[in-house]
């Protein structure tokens, strides 16, 4: 048994945040591999050999048709059972930006994931502004997830997307998410109050920025915690100094690695 948590960072044509996501996990003490999807399909690499699966940001297959759609179909149709087993084994999944879009469109979030009887119950669609936008947002941390334990009440991450508007299929789905503690992040203003545009950068319903599955071990979010991993990534760190302290996002990766190490490597 390995003594370090093993992370697989999936990539395919158009994935582009894999390196910084891998860097964040490695800095937190994990062994990280960036693996092309084809290597999973061909059986050269097995999902079961890892403890954390990360789906990084980017524009998989150009986000043609819709963001994350093609990657989601590949994950569900070609690796569905492997992913199901991975989650059942108590392992961790994180999807950031395009990764979140993929998890949602594959039906892995909000879950529970049933690859055979896929039904997409929420979506991430075009921003109300009709534009791709890059900006920093404040997020209120909610819910219960191993990923978000010990995070500050309000964290500050950047978003960079054109399709991040969170919409549930119906009211019931939305209420259920709230009741089951599956909402992990909501856009707020800097004081933690309700956010309007541009603090809610895309018009997400109930300002939802990230959700988990019922176990809390599968997390998806539009903002990029890996881009606030160190303090000098903060957009106005020069106002505070202390370039060496960790950024708000570091805790998320540390939580994942600590949990996996505790659970699978002891």
């Amino acid at each position: 048994m390995s003594t370090q948590a093993k992370v697989i960072v999936l990539r395919t044509a158009g994935t582009n945040c894999n390196s910084e996501t891998a860097f964040a996990f490695a800095r937190c003490g994990a062994v990280v591999e960036e693996v092309h999807l084809e290597r999973l399909f061909s059986g050269k690499v097995h999902l079961a050999d890892y403890h954390i699966m990360a789906l990084p940001g980017g524009f998989s297959y150009g986000d043609d048709i819709a963001s994350g759609r093609l990657f989601a179909n590949e994950l569900r149709l070609r690796l569905g059972q492997d992913v199901r087993r991975f989650i059942d084994d108590g392992k961790l999944v994180i999807g950031i930006c395009n990764g979140f879009q993929i998890l949602v469109k594959a039906g892995i979030l909000p879950g529970p994931f049933k690859p055979a009887t896929h039904r997409q119950s929420v979506t991430l669609t075009h921003n109300d502004s009709g534009k791709f936008e890059a900006r920093w947002v404040h997020l209120k941390v909610e819910g219960r997830s191993v990923w978000t334990e010990g995070l500050k009440d309000i964290v500050y991450f950047p978003v960079a997307h054109g399709e991040g508007k969170f919409i549930p299929a119906d009211k019931k789905t939305l209420q259920a998410l709230g009741h089951s503690g599956q909402v992990a992040f909501r856009y707020v203003d800097e004081n933690g109050a309700d956010a309007l545009y541009p603090q809610n950068p895309n018009g997400s319903l109930e300002a939802i920025a990230g959700i988990t599955d019922p176990t809390g071990r599968v997390l998806g979010l539009m903002p990029h915690p890996e881009r606030h991993f160190t303090h000098t990534q903060h957009p106005y760190w020069t106002r505070f100094g202390h370039p060496d302290q960790p950024g708000d996002g570091a805790r998320i990766f540390q939580n994942g690695v600590d949990y996996a190490t505790r659970t699978f490597c002891a």
């Binding site: 990539r11 044509a13 158009g14 994935t15 582009n16 945040c17 390196s19 910084e20 860097f23 800095r27 092309h36 084809e38 290597r39 940001g57 980017g58 524009f59 297959y61 150009g62 043609d64 048709i65 819709a66 759609r69 093609l70 179909n73 590949e74 149709l77 070609r78 469109k105 997409q120 929420v122 979506t123 669609t125 075009h126 921003n127 109300d128 502004s129 009709g130 534009k131 791709f132 936008e133 890059a134 900006r135 920093w136 950047p158 960079a160 919409i167 549930p168 299929a169 990029h224 890996e226 881009r227 991993f229 000098t232 990534q233 957009p235 106005y236 020069t238 106002r239 370039p243 060496d244």
Partner: protein, 971 residues
Amino acid sequence: MIWRIEIKDKEGQFDSFGSGVHRDIQDLGLGCVKSVRVVQVYLLDGDIVAADVERICQDLLIDPVVQDFRYSDTPFKDHFAASAVSKYRVVEVAYNSGVMDPVEFSVLKGIRDLGIKTVAAVRTARQFVLEGSLTAKDADLIADKILLNKIIQHARKSPADAFKPLTFKTVSGVAPQAVNVPLRGLGDKALMTLAHKGQLYLNVNEMKTIQSYFDKLDREPVDVELETIAQTWSEHCNHKTFRGRIKYSIREKGKTRTRLIDNLFKSTIMKATRTLDKSWCVSVFHDNAGVIKFDSRHNVCFKVETHNHPSALEPFGGSNTGVGGVIRDILGTGLGAKPIANTDVFCFAPPDFPAGELPAGALHPKRVMKGVVSGVRDYGNKMGIPTVNGAICFDRLYVGNPLVFCGDVGVIPAGREKKAARKGDYIVVAGGRTGRDGIHGATFSSGELTHESEVVSSGAVQIGNPIEEKKVLDVLLQGRDENLYSAVTDCGAGGLSSAVGEMGAELGARVDLDKVPLKYQGLSYTEIWISESQERMVFAVSPRNFPRLKEIFDSENVELAVIGTFPGTGKLELFYQGTQVCCLDMAFLHDGTPRITKEALWAQPRHKESAFPCPATFNEKLRQILSDYNVCSKEAIIRRYDHEVQGAAVVKPLAGPACDGPSDASVLRVKLDSKKGIVLSNGINPRFGKIDPYWMAASCIDESIRQIISVGGSLDEVALLDNFCWGNPDKPDRLGGLVRAALGCHDYAVAFGTPFISGKDSFYNEYTDKGRSIAIPGTLLISAIGIMADVNKAVTMDLKKPGDLIYVIGTTYDELGGSAYLATYDLIGNNIPVVSAKAALKAYTALSQASAKGLIRAAHDCSEGGLLTALVEMAFAGGCGATAILNAVPFKGERRRDDVVAFSESNSRLIVEVDPADRVAFERIMAGVPMGMFGRVQEAPDVFAYGIKENLCLKADIHELKAVWKTPLQF
């Protein structure tokens, strides 16, 4: 069988795309349109059953949460019928045959993933449902101005059209035998007719040189030989103006002095680099990008390209492929570098340009701007390369010729910057397939545009596929790290002709054109050879290494093909289906160009001067300057770009607690775990060029360096790139200005100790309308890259803390010429800012030391808008107020007026904020540098400025000033 699928948002969903189009229509002045809904259309061709179409819709094409769909293999009853009812009009837009649409490939892949194998072809279209009582003419106008660009798209008007055509028009029966072009015995006139008809853009001397070459061979040229020579000798590829002879005349006080410049490039730009001879310059001028040393293990490279002509005709596609092209330059530098940052600089006519004054055939500048920004956004973001720095300039003279400068920075392991194809290597083409797109791009950009350009040159315009290039990037770096190839270069202008021609310049090359993977059948051998289809790279690979390279590329679905070899014969030999169609001596191709002599004339223009009194208060003038398109906030555009992907940005383009202050330069880590980094900046000011291009060049160099100093960088290792965009160099007055600018580049690169490492030129930026030629103002972009020892010492421009001291560094002169202030009086003026490099160097060196010691809280360079503009930018970026006393600003000159001190754009000046506790230490370091402590940071959000006689000349609320500054480009 053809199936038509229509997908639209469910009732009640907000159609953000449609509402964006609606806003554009309202901007056009058509209030009759009440709403716009967008319907996505897919056409599937193949032997497909309805159940499969249903599944393709459900599982692939729609988002079940927000979208509905319908499909049919016969026309929908209501389809287009709505047009007859006055309440709606429908415009359906589809790509022209042959235009690359990446979505088609993705849909085909998605269908295969579903296990459905019967779909042979996919086409897409977009339907715009315009609600409102509008006429057919209104709909046509909307289609023409907003919904489509005829160069790449067309509107479908009938149900029959909506089900065709699904297949590309193929040219059947392309003759495999060589087609000769008779040259022998032709006179000058006939030669020029031939050059014109064939879009060769060669002059009569060049045509005669070609004629005598083939006379000696005792045969006529094959058409593809002529094309190859035209590509290689084009201004675009051969830089005839910069490398030729110039008879340079200066007219001054009625006298004319003339001297001959033999090779302007070697005697200015390259000479500066030779003179400076910096040990950290690793590779200069000869490769796709300049390379400088970063640390013991890595080097960095930087290249800025222009993509002006294509962007004028199809702004999205033009800028899109411009970004793609410069990224390929970096991928093809040495044995391949990894792109880490993009820069983008644009010049447009103002977005409020009166539509009635547009030259025939020119697109409206607002549309050009939106398209260009979207094109950059699409390619840069999808490649995962942060767009970290840029600038936008506005001038009416850019109306026919917008300028699009795309830059890319890469990192490459030390020692991998050298490459050379070896005898016996395979010629391998990889990445995108070759199609009929981009034919004649290199020669097309070597001529002027006219209103007919959109018809003649439509083949020169393309759309990029960034994901294809990202795939190439991913596998190329793996191949490089396993040492699997001996050379690589990009396929850019001139296509395979240029790429293979350059790579085999010494060894010669033998290519079987029928082995090049094609997007569709029917291309002639010439088209295959000169097509500029995007996302292709050419490699030289030894037969031994090829299988492993293929294995890597195959594993990530990147296509590659062996198309020939480097035989060592020194000849370029092309074959098509076994028939030889080209046999040229590489020596003739690369060195056979006749040297030309061009005439250049420089005469200092005199612009109108007008005496106006100094305004009693600057409230109004400052607002005018802040809302000048050249000065105002570019935030709305910056936010369209992902400037933080890869996680390396330390100083981002937007600064301050509200993330909206205008940063001077970008600071990036090159490795996430190292404190060493790079600084990137740009200097550009076409207004100065209208007075004197020499001082424009000096000012641009100073500005780019000043910005590096501003963010805490140093001058120790700073390299420059030049990008000249000029009018027709065959006209002596245009060329005279170019020579002036190049001389300025030389003198100030040497003076500042900053060598040029790479550059580019783009000529013929003129637009002919009704017999009149509109030339752009000669425009020089200087891009700078510096190495920063410790990025944790970076400084940003936002004021930080009330009570801090504010200094101006450097002397202000009476230099209002070309200023944003004079522009408010509709003047250009003549008193152009000059540069004293000695004084500037002293100040910059001292400031770097102060930053390294952590003594600078904030710094901002004084550029467009001058001192007062820079100060209020610092104030509203930091959310702090400030007081300023102009009397404390070091000034030299006779006309010491409040407005001159406040708004002169003298070079080499910065404003810095210093903690009072650090005052002594700061002033000690700065000893001997002209500077003045002229203000303080205030808690209250107001800026107060007092004039020379301590008169209050400005009192303004920073939030209000910020709003004025933020509004103009907010659309």
